[in-house]
Amino acid sequence: MREEDKERGYDFHKASHTETMTINMGPSHPATHGTVKFFLTLDGETIEDIDVEIGYLHRAFEKECEAQKWNGVFPYTDRLDYTASVLNNVGYAMAAEKLIGIEVPERCKYLRTMISEMARMSGHYTNVGAGALELGALTAFIYFIEARELLWDLIESICGARLTHNYVRIGGLTNDLPDGFRENVKRVFAKNRKLWDDFDIMLTKNRIFLDRMRDTGGISQKDAIAWGFTGPCLRAAGVPYDVRRAQPYLMYDRMNFDIPVGSTGDNFDRYLVRMEEIKQSMSIVEQCLEQMPEGPINVDDARWRMPSKDDSSTKMEPLIFHFKQIIEGQSIPAGEAYQAVEGANGELGFYLVSNGGGKPWKCRVRPPSFALTSALPLLVKGSMLADLIPTFDMINLIGGECDR
């Protein structure tokens, strides 16, 4: 309803006997990947009102964690942001280590930094590729899926699984790099960079893509901060907030990389920020591999790690401690801690409360895409139905992380 119509008290719908159409862009719609439902009232093609309904992938993550031991929570954190599952593992492990007050050795920090960046790349490949797919550019999507496939093979050679990595433990990691890993990384990143350029050539200067992505779903800096935006969507609005730069953790203070920042905060800026971040992550992984020292990957304090098997299968005390630790869980001292990690979609915070027992008293995840999706009506109201698709993609709602 345009403003001037309102002053004159002229109702377009009544005058021309039209009425708005309500549509359930329900959970099983191609663009909503099965995890969210939009209740749209459409005036022709423009969206008059949108009600976002989430919760379709709610699996009671917190209730499960409260019944699970501290180390048993890791497979659940894999399923939060399943496009970049190691980032959740690293976030949870660092929150627990902050609660305990231990510090993991150098090599483990480098490994965690490297695998986090690889997971971030996988998250961005999935998101930007699916964004291009939903606009119709099928070939570009498959190029990024191929890049992700090669990256997943790398991660699989380290963690043992392509999607649910379950690689990090409290106080360290499950295993070290396989041999021949550096050559694989060189080969895969050379191919990925070529695919990145192909994707860039096909889309970034293509006017059709520019018209679809630019000036749609924009948000101002003030609104972005008020709605709790973090990650690529906030940086696209021009606020250079990145947990890796603001409060460096692990080895990020020893890496030199750039934080891409947009200016207007619309979909095209978010797309460009994510594309640039893929390149930066690649350079970080390579820097990690160069600077990585030799040495243990687990903390030296026996209480906070799995005893090595030759101890627990030969000596009596480690075996008793091994049994006690597995059955009762590691008894983390009482207290509470909040640790924020830069996830693929934004600041991924873990707030852990422990009452000294073997099970977490509360394990809260601060989901970045939860705040982003709550602002979706603000981004989309008044624009076309076809603009809802790129906006919803570029916000990158991951059902597992948003609904927990």
Binding site: K63, Y351, W361, F370
Partner: protein, 181 residues
């Protein structure tokens, strides 16, 4: 206003010093501590809006982003915090704030009793808190007065009870509901 020993690095950060300097005399602070480097204020439920307004508007604090809002159920673990038992508080609403300019964080906690789990909604100050408060209501049953539409967000409307409460059994079953249209 009790003060707990600071585990983690010693000394009081300037954020905490500033907060205590202003909020202390107003008598709103129940407790402050700095565990593992996280500055924490514990505040009465009634004057949460005053505290949040101050934390956001104050020149040297400038907490312009509400990172996270959640609730914690301390049924059976009241001994974890000294102020829980005297106030017979069971729930605790926990706010995590962050300032982009000053790049520092703070945690504000509000203990609530079981009979009156009411607290004022801060959507007036940070509009992003809207969904977080709906989730805290949905999973814990904490009522936020003044919230635009306090409805369930993650669970379906006909769900009975608040699942993340400690007395909600893990294997509890819900009554089946037919198709609602």
């Amino acid at each position: 206003m009790s003060e707990e020993k600071n585990s983690g690095q010693g000394g009081v950060s300037d954020v905490m010093a500033r907060a205590k300097a202003v909020l202390g005399p107003m008598g709103v602070l129940i407790h402050t501590h700095c565990q593992h480097g996280d500055d924490t204020l514990v505040v009465q439920a009634e004057d949460i809006l005053k505290v949040m307004e101050f934390l956001r508007e104050d020149k040297s604090l400038r907490f312009d982003m509400m990172m996270d809002l959640t609730a914690v159920d301390y049924l059976g673990a009241e001994e974890m915090h000294p102020y829980l038992k005297p106030m017979k508080a069971r729930f605790e609403v926990v706010y995590h704030l962050y300032s982009i300019e000053k790049n520092h964080r703070i945690r504000v906690k509000v203990p609530l009793t079981e009979e009156s789990p009411f607290v004022d909604s801060i959507t007036g100050i940070w509009v992003g808190a809207d969904w977080f408060e709906r989730e805290a209501w949905d999973l814990y049953g904490v009522v936020f007065r003044g919230h635009p539409n306090l409805k369930r967000i993650l669970l379906y409307e006909e769900f009975e009870g608040h699942p993340l409460r400690k007395d909600y059994g893990k294997m509890k079953r819900q009554p089946l509901i037919g198709p609602v249209n």
